[in-house]
Symmetry: C2
Subunit: 68 residues, 2 copies
């Protein structure tokens, strides 16, 4: 689970859009909570009962998308 | 607080994009939780200590955006 703080609300939504594109292309979808310009992203594999190596890699790619 | 179930994950994201546009134009931003194709939207006025008439109107407009 990681919280990203973007410079503005529109920047937060653009980040969510990029993240959604990645999620859809990988057919793996994180939980996303938007609180104004803060976005919390949680990658888990419910069917595997927790966090897998795949989730860790998606988390890394998410950080890259946020420019963080 | 209301949960909207969209037909797909991309449809859920498109709904969030429409909602974000409304939020930004009104300078009033709801809490948004995305769980695959389910989107929970919570309009509150933190500075007013709860839900106001404005929040109720925004909630109505949100339902219209979701086509629900």
């Amino acid at each position: 689970m990681r919280e990203f703080e973007l410079p503005s609300f529109p920047a937060a939504i653009e980040f969510v859009d990029r993240l959604a594109e990645l999620a859809e292309s990988e057919n793996h979808h994180p939980d996303i909570d938007i609180r104004y310009r803060k976005v919390t992203v949680r990658w888990t594999s419910h069917d595997k009962g927790g966090i897998t190596e795949r989730d860790r890699k998606m988390a890394e790619r998410t950080s890259a998308l946020a420019g963080a």
